[in-house]
Symmetry: C2
Subunit: 352 residues, 2 copies
């Protein structure tokens, strides 16, 4: 069954292909209504749909944007991807999704494929600090928007960003824990590579210093040395919990880099027979749906990702439509502390 083309439609409606094209592109001004209807009927009768490859070749325009996330298997990025798709569809764009596994090489290869496919805009769900692997593409004319990647001083390349204030996120959490009387606070993260993690760690340290507490580097755990993203977030949280909670003087609270890591800390604490929150307070970041369901419900920070994703998509589409080169734009929204019952007052005389 050979595919129907615009020529088939033109023949059936007894007009030129130009007229069919005019109907397809809503340029009905130059046409009598009856001609228009005749063409439309021919289109319906044949079940004709335009060939996007041909259209793209001719116009140079692609109704697709790319989205590269570490992995949609991570619930946070699953939701993130879902919202990006929703925002893009609302603006008439489809999303092409790729998982990078936080691997620069994969990220680059994906971006390359997108470029070859005629896609001129990509949203990055998590941004590595270094973007040199994307420079040649940006030079060629690729537009990039990064989630959680405000302007870096050392960065020659203009990448827009939309994100949440990560320093603020851990500030909120750390203040909350300090207010509950905690002084020995652990910090669990995967490798501190993406910008968001650096910021979160910084927010934690700065807030401690403001409270005149010297951050104990022994209480910051950032994954096994040989790990390159192949261990899952939950497993990392569990390992980190085992490490921190086996110390002679163990922390009374643990800040996990995100909710999934926090769930791993739950499991790790359980392994060691430590109760939450009586003996250990735990916090996450993201406020994914599950945070409200686990036992005890997780104190965490909500990221306004619906707004962030919408802004990111709109920014990207504007970029695609504007002709001149504009300076990068950085949007940053505020996170919000969600207090549940995984955090409690530090009790000096608790039963160990």
């Amino acid at each position: 069954m050979p595919r129907k083309t615009i020529t088939d439609v033109a023949r059936l409606a007894k007009v030129s292909t130009s007229s069919v094209s005019n109907v397809l592109n809503d340029r009905s001004t130059r046409m009598r209504p009856e001609t228009r209807d005749r063409i439309q009927q021919a289109i319906n009768k044949l079940g004709y749909t335009p060939n996007l490859a041909a259209r793209q070749l001719k116009t140079g325009y692609s109704p697709f944007i790319g989205l590269i996330v570490p992995s949609v298997a991570d619930p946070f990025f699953g939701i993130f991807a879902r919202l990006v798709e929703e925002a893009a569809l609302a603006r008439g764009f489809q999303v092409l999704l790729g998982n990078s596994d936080r691997d620069t090489g994969r990220e680059q290869r994906y971006a390359e494929v997108l470029w070859r496919s005629g896609i001129r805009g990509i949203i990055f769900g998590s941004s590595l600090i270094h973007s040199t692997h994307l420079e040649s593409l940006i030079d060629k004319g690729m537009h990039c928007i990064a989630f959680n990647r405000p302007h870096l001083g050392n960065d020659r390349y203009p990448i827009d960003s939309a994100g949440v204030d990560n320093v603020q996120a851990t500030r909120l959490i750390t203040k909350h824990l300090l207010a509950l009387g905690h002084r020995r606070i652990g910090f669990i993260s995967g490798p501190i590579d993406p910008v968001s993690r650096t910021d979160r760690l910084q927010g934690f340290r700065v807030t401690l210093q403001e409270a005149a507490i010297d951050p104990d580097e022994e209480l910051v755990w950032d994954g096994p040395a040989d790990n390159f993203g192949d261990t899952s977030a939950i497993e990392l949280g569990r390992q980190g919990a085992h490490y921190l909670l086996s110390k002679a003087e163990r922390p009374t609270a643990i800040i996990a880099i995100n909710d999934m890591h926090a769930f791993g800390v739950y499991a790790g604490a359980r392994d060691l027979g430590i109760t939450i929150p009586a003996e250990l307070s735990i916090t996450g970041i993201d406020n994914i749906t599950l945070a409200d369901v686990v036992e005890p419900p997780l104190t965490t920070v909500q990221q306004p990702i619906r707004d962030v994703t919408r802004l990111a998509v709109e920014r990207l589409i504007s970029r695609l439509e504007e002709s001149s080169i504009q300076p990068p734009v950085h949007v940053m929204l505020s996170p919000k502390l969600i207090v549940r019952t995984s955090t409690a007052h530090y009790q000096k005389n608790k039963t160990l």
Copy 2:
């Protein structure tokens, strides 16, 4: 910066575009090694990459397959999508992902876009019982593979499938619960629309009947009547738990249609002060990573989705490459019961 084309390369290497094309497509037989090298250098120097739209227009071939799932925000489908992508990449294909929200209209519109984009194969992550909305596309030549959708008698359209034996999944679970002494077993599901859910419910009923227990329809909850997929799985589980556990004679065990629903049941039971597993046994299906982390760890059924996704991708690519029309193929793998501690013996004299 106008994009580089094959003509630019040809000019720089002082050859014809035909020769450049031959290099690009590994037809080096018709060329001296030195010419080949010269062309390759020109390609590198210009940073040339072929325009896939033009290539696709000419060859009719697209190195993409489509994947339509209910929502990647659901962790199960996040992992599913991840594995499909992995299998596809290994075979040289990219994946274009869409979320259908279990809405026939959205599913159809997505499939339509994929067709227009020149994509000739789609994997469906969850299959609605009716596929009439896809028939016209299949007629045109679209190849479809469904997850969990064995041949239906009433179905005129040849859709391949790869999946897990869902009847077997609930059989395993139900037998497990029966062995633990449970007789009043609840069943919680969203709308019984996809084939997989129908099968799971059937496995449950049949196994009860084999044990000479009359299935109590009052204990089967399939969502509020006005729900059309807009409520999250967790929330549905919670609502279902509230409903079933408020009955005068409440069930002693609940089978949730999948792990996410089961987590909702955890929350619902907690709301009512019912302890797991002492007062209520709970099971899920899928064995997502979180199943091992929640408290208590969830008894569930593991789906061999790595194998299923690989088989689905391979089947689809074979379809794309074969010229003649072959009868549909159905692959079904066996699930495996994973017993954890969310299930326990039914105790007659338990404290209510």
